[in-house]
């Protein structure tokens, strides 16, 4: 419990700034939406005239941006990216910092097992991604309601939030397992952020062309596609199963690697 509480305390400032960033993003996004919705010229026509690749990369493809639902679906792409970056850096950082700051020599001289250290830290990280997810949900519901002139979509937004949480868990575990497995954990943050970027690019790529449909299995961003969740109002059991399995594997690998590693001091 002591390590868990200390980690939460250590990260409270960082969590606060992430919260601010999300609020700022949603406010600016929704005020733009107001502009789109009220403008006479249709934003949808502008997007249709864009090359398919560009609109896919920007997350516009196949969305009605003049409806609040369509516009919010586009926002979730950016929210997923932000929360994914938060999770991946948090996962890598919370595990590796004891070694990069050389405090592991202090911590591991206490009567604690490596399993306990890892578990406490992952639990603290998990708590934070849930907090940030809830913050995002509340911010989204409030800002969308404030600018929305059509029927309320609050229940759709709430329904969508678990998809972002799944993504956060994915990237938290990717960051944490890099930090647990790599010999030089200080590179874990950079490398796992690279993985996040790569999977994001793959997911845009899948949107552009149908030829590489199988690639959707290679990127968690495609597992929980806001467009599908919004329109079909359901989650894919296949992708949930893949996520649960992958998280279990990453957790096991991190556990084994962390127990075996020679702490670098």
């Amino acid at each position: 419990m002591n390590i868990y509480l200390k980690e939460l305390k250590d990260y409270r400032r960082s969590l606060f700034f992430w919260t601010l960033a999300i609020i700022a993003f949603m406010l600016s996004a929704m005020s733009k939406y107001q502009g789109y919705a009220r403008s006479g010229t249709s934003i949808n026509e502008v997007i249709e005239s864009m090359p398919a690749g560009l609109s896919a990369a920007l997350g516009f493809q196949g969305l009605d941006l003049q409806s609040s639902g369509g516009f919010f679906a586009m926002c979730t792409l950016y929210l997923s990216m932000m929360l994914g970056v938060h999770a991946v850096l948090l996962g890598a950082g919370i595990i590796s910092k004891e070694e990069t700051d050389k405090t592991i020599e202090f911590l591991y001289a206490r009567p604690v097992s490596r399993g306990y250290i890892l578990f406490s830290k992952l639990l603290a990280a998990f708590t934070q991604i849930i907090i940030l997810n809830i913050v995002t949900a509340i911010t989204s519901v409030v800002t969308v309601a404030a600018f929305n002139e059509g029927p309320s979509i609050s229940s759709d937004i709430i329904f969508l939030m678990p998809s972002i949480l799944f993504l956060q868990i994915w990237f938290l575990m990717i960051g944490a397992s890099f930090a647990a497995i790599m010999r030089r954990p200080r590179h874990a943050g950079m490398l796992s952020a690279g993985v996040l970027l790569a999977t994001f690019v793959i997911s845009s790529f899948v949107d552009i062309t149908d030829r590489f449909g199988f690639l959707k299995y290679a990127t968690p961003f495609k597992y929980f596609d806001p467009k599908t969740i919004f329109t079909e109002h359901s989650y894919s059991m296949t992708f949930i199963s893949i996520t649960v399995t992958a998280v279990a594997i990453l957790l096991t690998l991190s556990g084994i690697a962390y127990k075996k590693r020679n702490f670098s001091i």
Binding site: K102, F106, N262, F263
Partner: protein, 291 residues
């Protein structure tokens, strides 16, 4: 009973050697000095004992229990002070000590007060703002606050001023009188001489010798410089225990290990202008007696 026992403990970092075939024991209630030049493998040995790193081969036990298998259990009774002290940023001294105490499931506040009073450590300061010596003091307090049976110290005195060093040694002696076992690494022989019962000497990852302080003191290492009235002759010093002998005109310089009476009789035969006896540094001793 042996409090610490290592058997053929070996650690390679890739192809570079940390320590090799290191077997030593620390008896209950003794102060063992673990001495060797920088880079000899002292910290590696200690990190293996704390299972921060794993041995390439060999094993170690503390309180008769394997250090890897029973790590968390045996660490309840270990106080450790690392050579370089790194602490969490933005923490105050009191916070860090409370955090440290929180792992032992008992009230350590009285001991924290006692120790910090003795060392004149300000608990309200931020650790980042402390000087090197004051950080060392934090290290001492966090190592002792839970009243451990075994105290492991890695180069503990660096940065402490002489007065604090004296206080610190007094503190260690007091702990030792109360039955605590102390494992103390250092590269300064005179420091170890002040306090230890036995000394283990390590060089380039290998344990060279482990002997009692009495025995080591009999071996009284001296660095001797003589300035003679006439041209000096080296032949006189052709006795066991003399090494690094340099004779140049009327200057003689040598290292001596052995009974001081023997060497003083030889010197007494000479017509001297000047005469100096000093303590050689550890590097010199290693270079000339342990290669």
């Amino acid at each position: 009973m042996d409090i610490i026992e290592t058997k053929n403990l070996t650690k390679f970092y890739g192809s570079s050697k940390g320590i090799e075939d290191l077997s030593l024991n620390v008896k209950e209630g003794e102060i063992l000095g673990f001495i060797g030049p920088n880079g000899a493998g002292k910290s590696t040995t200690i990190r293996l004992l704390l299972s921060l790193i794993y041995p390439t081969s060999g094993s170690a036990t503390i309180f008769g229990k394997d250090v890897i298998k029973y790590g968390p259990e045996i660490k309840r009774q270990i106080g450790y002070m690392p050579s370089e002290v790194f602490y969490y940023e933005n923490m105050r001294v009191q916070e860090l000590l409370d955090y440290s105490a929180s792992f032992y499931g008992k009230d350590c506040s009285k001991r924290i007060k006692e120790l910090s009073g003795l060392l004149k450590l300000d608990l309200t300061k931020k650790i980042d703002d402390l000087s090197y010596g004051n950080k060392k003091k934090v290290g001492i307090v966090q190592g002792l606050l839970h009243d451990p049976d075994l105290i492991i110290l890695d180069e503990p005195t660096g940065g402490l001023d002489p007065l604090m060093q004296k206080n610190f040694f007094e503190l260690l002696k007091e702990e030792n009188r109360a039955g605590k076992t102390i494992f103390f690494s250092s590269h300064i022989l005179s420091e170890v001489q002040k306090i230890c019962d036995r000394v283990a000497i390590i060089r380039e990852g290998t344990l060279i010798n482990i002997e009692s302080m009495e025995h080591l003191l009999q071996n009284n290492y001296k660095r001797i410089h003589l300035t003679t009235a006439k041209k000096a002759e080296g032949k006189l010093f052709d006795i066991p225990g003399v090494s690094d002998l340099k004779v140049e005109k009327n200057q003689v310089s040598l290292l001596y290990k052995g009974d001081v009476n023997t060497i003083s009789r030889i010197i007494a035969q000479m017509d001297l202008v000047d005469f100096m006896v000093g303590e050689p540094d550890l590097e010199e001793i290693f270079m000339h007696y342990y290669t």
